[in-house]
Amino acid sequence: MSLSMTLTVIVALALAGFFAGRARALMVVQGRAQELHSRPQYYGWVVALTAALPALALLALWSVGHDSVIDGMVRGGLPADVRALPTDKLGLILTTIDNLAHGRAVAGEVPDYARAAAARSTSLVATSRWIAFALCVALAIGGFLVAYRTVAPPMRARNTVERVMLSALMACSAIAVLTTVGIVFSMLFETLHFFSLVSPLDFFFGTVWDPRFAAAGSNDSAGQFGLLPLLWGTIFISLIAMLVAVPVGLMSAIYLSEYASRAVRAWVKPLLEILAGIPTVVYGFFAVTTLGPLFRDIGGGLGLDISATSALTAGVVMGVMIIPFVSSLSDDIINAVPQSLRDGSYALGATHSETIRRVVFPAALPGIVGSVLLATSRAIGETMIVVMAAGIAAKLTVNPFDSVTTVTVKIVSQLTGDLEFNSPQTLVAFALGLTLFVVTLGLNVYALYIVRKYREQYD
């Protein structure tokens, strides 16, 4: 009896419960709905919920527990000499049994006890599903009957239903928190695992990145996991990106809010914002096929050696992507500077640009710094552009024409191979991810802090 079948039966019972409960509510008052405490459908809901919720909870618990219990039983049924094998060999055998039980192809010779265990596992799974089905349906029917019998005019059905709804709403808002908790804990757990294999000092202060992919798994593959070259690459590329994005974004924000006519503004602002909506993989492709070769050719003409994947290419493209972040945030902030400050400046004889540079800009500065920091955190976390256009060589270099690599690139490259999950080569990605998370979170919080602390309060 499959999971979906059980679910369908429960849902069908709940549906039946809704109609039965509503009908009974109307029946007990002979159709005079005003004599009921709540509207008739609330009685239907009560019956439906009492039928479905306990059964669903049981089903969820069963599904969570079921695999490990059966696993333990199958393992317990293996011959004693097999159970005494070292963990890695035992794991291999268990995988074989698992594959057999699911009808997947198995390589090599299969011992008899494995076949027997697989058969046992299959039959256990079937039994367990039947038991789950029987229990859940019994629970649903029981809930249905109990609730159905309690339907009576004084029953406060609406209050019950609304309490359940409110707890559901609360649970949903907790999911947002659970996501963060999940992010932090999943990465923290794997990172601690990684630090048990590689010293944190070697990770945070190492200057060589050489994870030795080829020899992964064998015991002599120490590998070096120095964070610094990756961090430098990230900072370097973000710096180039900000050198493009800040002047361009700021000047366009100033032009749009101070000089442009209403018509120009209405057209140009959405057009510029398209730049932020284009998927980053598209920027990456553009950098690789168009901008990279162009820079290489220009560099060749000038006698410079620019590699096709360079910090410059990735940085410039990323900078263009970030322009709208800087410009639209700054635009809002510049617009928030009160007109009276401008008028005061004009009255003293300042020109338009002098007013902007000496009055508006200083007044808007905290907000602008905040927006630049937010944009920087976006640049640091950006992945696809650098994966495609920045290269994979981890180098500590200040030459923008050379290829460098970033934290995000290495997270992707460490996790897209077929690697066992407890080697440092794989686990390092989680340490990198946690570093990235902490850095971007820190930047965001700092940006908000700056904006709050230095915000000028007018009026």
């Binding site: 996501t179 999943s186 000047m251 032009y255 140009v268 338009h352 976390g381 696809m384 965001n444």
Partner: protein, 442 residues
């Protein structure tokens, strides 16, 4: 400003000094107006830079990509000789499925081109057509078994190299040893073209086929279906949870430390780098829950978590925009708070909620990095039947094709990007129209 003011007030009554100051002023004024003009030009230049880049990006994609929507085909008179096909008597369906279409096709091709028994010459001739050309014949014969024994004129897909050269993406002036199409093949192609046997037709493969190492047989079909499944998962997960969370925070939550934590949390989640969500998906969904790799349902869940803050923020804004008078009126006629929300506030906030959701989904559709980590970079040939089967996604397919070395894939990558952008533009336009149409000022 203060020192400028002080300067201008410190002028004394002396005539000479006044004249001097005026001369100074006019030159200074010129300089100031010059600075004013320059400043304005900088601003305009910044905007022009952004717009030119945008135009350049789109222009280069359109120029590179439009060619891929049409595929070169070669018309070959295929003799479906029963003997050559290895068929005898009245073949049943199974026999038709296993028949030697390649042999028949090759014989017909040799005849069309007048190729002798030289093996190099034969190989060159066969390379003109795609590896999948015999399958095209097969599907024709399976659809109409009476074709066996006849000669039919069929447009068959040309090889990717031939396609690339005929579209002019590889110049004929390149020395022969650096070209993938040699002089003999060019001569044949010219002759075929003169006979009207070379043409370009709509490239249906691009929209239906899955992954293939032959560029002419590779398509976005699997990716489109995979992305569709993921969007459905995002909609089913992020919309209800997001709306419920927003309703709780906006209407029920007491103002205390716990709700402050939730609020700060949601704002920070919106700024977490997308690749971190990929790590979460890998660690939790794949390793802890044991969900299948490369499955759209996992990718969809990861994207749903990413979209959740967007939906929550949009919903809260939409709920806030519903005026309190509506709530008070409903409460006044005896509705409970839950009824006020489900019967009045949410229906009125719906356009805003949907607009926010569509924009969030458009962002999720273009997202690549987290999908790489949950194994969506897969070579999937056949269409996924359910969201639990391996599939790829549109942006991931673009990433994979961008990494392919054949020249023919550049064109296809650009075309794939155009398809993705078309989806994104449609979604965003829907959101804008929705907002325009249902926006209410209270």
């Amino acid at each position: 400003m203060t020192d400028i003011a002080a300067d201008s007030f410190s002028i004394t009554s002396s005539d000479a000094r006044a004249r001097n100051a005026r001369a100074l002023d006019s030159s200074r004024l010129r300089a100031r107006y010059g600075a004013e003009k320059r400043f304005r030009v900088y601003g305009a230049a910044a905007i022009v830079f952004g717009l030119v880049f945008l135009a350049w990006l789109f222009g280069s994609l359109v120029i590179q990509g439009t060619g891929a929507f049409r595929q070169t085909q070669i018309r070959v008179a295929v003799e479906l000789d029963a003997g050559e096909l290895g068929l005898s008597g009245t073949p049943d369906r199974e026999a038709l499925e296993k028949a030697e279409y390649q042999a028949a096709l090759r014989a017909s091709l040799r005849k069309t081109l007048g190729v002798g028994s030289d093996r190099g010459e034969r190989r060159d001739a066969y390379a003109l057509l795609s590896n999948g050309a015999d399958l095209e014949i097969r599907s024709r014969v399976l659809a109409d078994p009476s074709l066996v024994g006849k000669t039919i004129n069929l447009w068959l897909t040309a090889g990717a190299d031939v396609d690339t050269m005929l579209k002019g993406n590889i110049s004929r002036d390149v020395p022969e040893n650096k070209r993938r199409v040699n002089n003999r093949q060019i001569a044949w192609l010219d002759k075929l073209a003169a006979d009207g046997r070379v043409g370009r037709h709509f490239n249906a493969n691009l929209f239906t086929k899955g992954a293939s190492s032959d560029a002419e047989l590779a398509g976005m079909g699997v990716a489109i279906v995979g992305s569709l499944y993921m969007m459905v998962v995002v909609l089913l997960v992020a919309l209800p949870i997001g709306v419920a969370a927003a309703v709780y925070l906006e209407e029920f939550a007491p103002r205390n430390r716990w709700t402050d934590v939730i609020e700060v949390n949601i704002n920070n989640l919106a700024a977490v780098p997308s690749i971190v969500f990929g790590l979460l998906g890998l660690a939790i969904f794949l390793n802890v829950f044991g969900m299948p790799r490369s499955a759209p349902v996992v990718g969809g869940l990861v994207l749903a978590l990413m979209t959740l803050p967007v939906v929550i923020i949009a919903t809260r804004a939409a709920i806030k925009a519903v005026p309190p008078s509506i709530r008070e009126a409903a409460l006044g006629v005896g509705a409970s708070r839950m009824q006020v929300i489900t019967h009045h506030v949410l229906p009125l906030a719906m356009p805003g909620i949907l607009t926010g959701t569509i924009i969030g989904m458009a962002r999720a559709l273009g997202e690549t990095a987290p999908l790489l980590l949950v194994g969506m970079v897969a070579f999937v040939v056949s269409q996924p039947a359910t969201p639990f089967d391996p599939a790829t996604a549109l942006p991931v397919q673009i990433y994979m094709w961008a990494g392919a070395s054949e020249r023919a894939f550049v064109e296809r990558t650009s075309a794939a990007i155009l398809i993705l952008l078309a989806f994104l533009i449609t979604m965003n336009a829907t959101a804008v129209i929705l907002r325009r149409k249902f926006e209410r000022r209270w």
